[in-house]
Each structure stands twice: as structure tokens, then as C-alpha cells.
């Protein structure tokens, strides 16, 4: 059994940020990542981030990840375990980890779950055909692995991810034939939509995909129009050529470990699905188990990082650390988070977070 002060599950933006602040006052930290590298989904983000300078606006996602990894690797009381999956969390506080070689147990004093999210899918005929991807998947293939996934794409979903990935597909030399969205208006930021429109990509609202065509892989898609109640309107079907059908219809929290621990969970649609009820320190209903990032509600990487920094500090407070400056640092990050969630864009997020408070 391995003993550690703070266990962090997930080495994405929230988990990395949490590791940095959690280790600040000498507590030992174990950062567990199932993949072979830290960074989570930041490593495939080739676009520059928004926000303020403090949240590294204008820096590309993969460069943000690189900087954070370097910072973490320089801290010697953070133990990084890659290719390691947390598969069980038990009532007595013991955590089970799996590596290729086998299983082992960890006994932490506190846990931060920062497992992130998974991409939602859509039910339509042919949705398992090769060539149907989550939008994040083509990002991984292109931006991380250098593979061009096809020649022509139809993107389903005009939120920020759908719009940004459409642009990145064009950067990789893929033609974007259409972006469709079931909603009556474009969900993503106007700047992103304007950018792809300027490059000649049509965006159709009130449209969805009805079927992916093809025998062994995608050769086209049947799209159709939707009425005010999101029902398909018969006779509006159009066939569009494509060999990539990208599904970008949002994310859901990857919260299996929290369910396993019987954390109090609640359904909040605007946060992407079931989320843990948390107090103002991001502690779940199970004492000593904290959350940070998308697992506690879908937002974006900037707020996930700030939430990570903040939660790392809260856990220190929970473990009895009474260093000078700790509470003012907490206030500072709380203010940053408030600023990121301010304004009309943050309306839904603020409402969702209020619903998930315990």
C-alpha cells in the first residue's frame, strides 16, 4: 500500500493545476494519469486561448500544457504515475490503481478527482461506421498524431468545439462541406463562427444528421431539417458527400469514480449531466474527496485550471495547513474564477453551479 497526503486522479488541466498548488506547502502529492503523458486534452489544442493574461490568453493549448508539465516535473514531492488507471475507490479511503503489470493500493489523506469529461454521441442510423468520430477524436488524430482523417467532413454541432475543430480540419487540408446544428441559433462564439464562414463554410441551424451512408466506411450523410420541437420534418432530407462525419454535441462529466464512492450526485443539464454536489471548497458529500474541472460540470480549460489551483489550496486547508498567505491566495483564485464566469456567457454556468451546491 502506498501512502500519500493528496492523491489527484487525472493529469489534464485541472489535475495538473491542482498538483501545483496542492504541493505548495510541502504535502506529498501523487498525480495519476491513465495516458502515457500529462496534459489531458490540452495537448491537442492548437488554437490560442481567450481570457486574461493570467489565464495565458493568446497562448496555444499545447504550449500551456508544456509549461505546466515542466513546472510539475520540477517539484520533487509530486510523484507522477502515468499509464495508471484508478479503477476503484472504497469506503475506507483505499484507492485501487491498475497498471499493465497489475494492481496496487493507495491510501491518501485527501483525494482530488479531476477525471474530465467524455464526448456525447447521437443516435442515428450508421453511427458506428468507421468515419463517424467525436470532434475531439479528429483533433487527436490530426494535431497529436499527424493523421489526416479524410478528405471531406460534415460537422454536427455548431458549438465552440464544432467550430474550432472545423477550422482545424481546414488547417489539415480537409474540406468542410457543412456544419449543422439542431438549435435555432449557433451555440459557439461569434468570432469562431465568423472565421469559418469567411472561409466559405455554410452553417445550417435547425438541421441534424439522420443517417451515415456507406458499407464499410462513411461515404456520405443524410441531413434533415428540424421543427420547433426538435422533431425531424419529413421530406426535408438532403444527401451530402463526406468521408468524415464529426459529432460535436457536447460533453458529459466522467464521474464513474464518484458514483462508486456514493457521492451525492445531481442532474444539471447546463453542466453536461450528472455532477457531484459540492460545497464552496469543491468538496463532495464524501469527506476528503474533492473535485476540479469538467468532472464537476462542463466548462472550458481556463476555468478548469483555475478550479484546479483553487482546489489544491482548499485541500491544504482541509488537511490543516495554516501557512501565511494561504487564505489570500484562495481569495485571489476565487476572484479569477468569478471573472471567468461573469457576464451573459457565464449565466448558465453560474445557474448550474448554484444548483449543484450542497
Amino acid at each position: 500500500m502506498k501512502h500519500v497526503d493528496i492523491l489527484i486522479v487525472g493529469g489534464g488541466p485541472a489535475g495538473m493545476a491542482a498538483a501545483i498548488t496542492a504541493s505548495k506547502y510541502g504535502k506529498t502529492v501523487m498525480l495519476v494519469e491513465r495516458d502515457g503523458h500529462l496534459g489531458g486534452q490540452l495537448v491537442k489544442q492548437t488554437h490560442m486561448f481567450f481570457g486574461s493574461e493570467k489565464q495565458q490568453a493568446s497562448v496555444r493549448g499545447f504550449d500551456i500544457a508544456k509549461g505546466m508539465v515542466e513546472e510539475i516535473e520540477a517539484i520533487d514531492h509530486i510523484e507522477i504515475l502515468k499509464k495508471t488507471t484508478i479503477v476503484g475507490m472504497f469506503e475506507d479511503g483505499v484507492v485501487m490503481a491498475q497498471q499493465r503489470e497489475g494492481y496496487f493500493k493507495i491510501k491518501p489523506q485527501a483525494i482530488i478527482v479531476a477525471t474530465g469529461a467524455y464526448e456525447k454521441s447521437l443516435a442515428f442510423k450508421g453511427n458506428t461506421l468507421p468515419g463517424v468520430y467525436g470532434a475531439g477524436a479528429v483533433q487527436t488524430l490530426m494535431n497529436l498524431q499527424g493523421i489526416k482523417p479524410g478528405q471531406e467532413v460534415v460537422m454536427v454541432g455548431a458549438g465552440n468545439i464544432g467550430l474550432i475543430v472545423s477550422y482545424q480540419l481546414m488547417q489539415a487540408g480537409v474540406k468542410v462541406n457543412a456544419i449543422v446544428d439542431a438549435a435555432p441559433s449557433i451555440g459557439g462564439y461569434v468570432v469562431h463562427a465568423a472565421k469559418v464562414r469567411r472561409m466559405g463554410v455554410p452553417i445550417y441551424t435547425r438541421y441534424t444528421v439522420k443517417q451515415a451512408l456507406g458499407e464499410s466506411k462513411v461515404s456520405g450523410a443524410i441531413l434533415c431539417q428540424l421543427d420547433d420541437h426538435y422533431q425531424e420534418i419529413e421530406g426535408t432530407e438532403v444527401e451530402v458527400d463526406c468521408d468524415i462525419l464529426c459529432v460535436s454535441v457536447g460533453l458529459s462529466p466522467l464521474s464513474e469514480l464518484l458514483w462508486q464512492l456514493s457521492c451525492d450526485m445531481t442532474f444539471v443539464g447546463v453542466l453536461g449531466g450528472y455532477v457531484p454536489r459540492v460545497d464552496e471548497r469543491n468538496e463532495t458529500s464524501v469527506a476528503g474527496v474533492f473535485v476540479a474541472g469538467d468532472v464537476s460540470g462542463i466548462e472550458e480549460a481556463s476555468s478548469a485550471m483555475v478550479e484546479g489551483y483553487l482546489t489544491g489550496l482548499h485541500v491544504n486547508e482541509y488537511l490543516g495547513v495554516k501557512e501565511e498567505g494561504l487564505s489570500s491566495l484562495i481569495e485571489e483564485y476565487e476572484e479569477d474564477l468569478r471573472a471567468l464566469r461573469s457576464g451573459p456567457v457565464g449565466d448558465k454556468i453560474r445557474q448550474g453551479i448554484a444548483q449543484a451546491k450542497r
Binding site: E119, T128, L129, P130, G136, A137, L141, Q171
Partner: protein, 101 residues
Amino acid sequence: MRIEKHPVLNFEEKKKIIFFFENQEMTGYEGDTIGAALYDNGITTLSYSGRAHEPMGIYCAIGNCSSCIMRVNGVPNVKVCIEPLKEGDRVERQNGKGDIL
């Protein structure tokens, strides 16, 4: 197919790796996942679904969805979208659940 020119990213030429798909010799590159190397070689059907036996390929590419499970060196249910390619790997399509006994 590889991306050759990209406005933001540089893909350097890496060391070649020989592997086998259904006993057919193929070339991948160091740093590839098995899935990436197969897609580069034009192989997009990686497995067949359990009930309807329909072709499946990469869906999430980050090890979440199990759409890409294959038999690698005799071991079934390997998520090839995240499995690093090694010299001499023998990769086979999987039909439904893999036999582990």
C-alpha cells in the same frame, strides 16, 4: 494519410517501424499509436460489433469508448487508439468480445 503541411504544427520524420496487420507487413513510425499507423495505411475497420457484426473504427481516440478494440500479439480487447506501436507487432481485427481463455 499523414498531414504534410500544417500552419501551426511541425511533424518531423520519425524512425520507421515494421508491423503486421492480419499477417500483412505494414510500415508505421515511432510515436504512432497502432490505430494511427493503421489509418495511415488505409485500414479503417478495426473491429466488428458484438451483435450485428458491423464494422467499427476509431470513435473517441482517447481510450474512452472501446470502438477500436483489436487483438494485438494474441491479446484481445486492446484499445489501439492509445496503444503505442512497437516493432513487429501483430495486429488482428476482433469480432465482438475477445476470448481471454
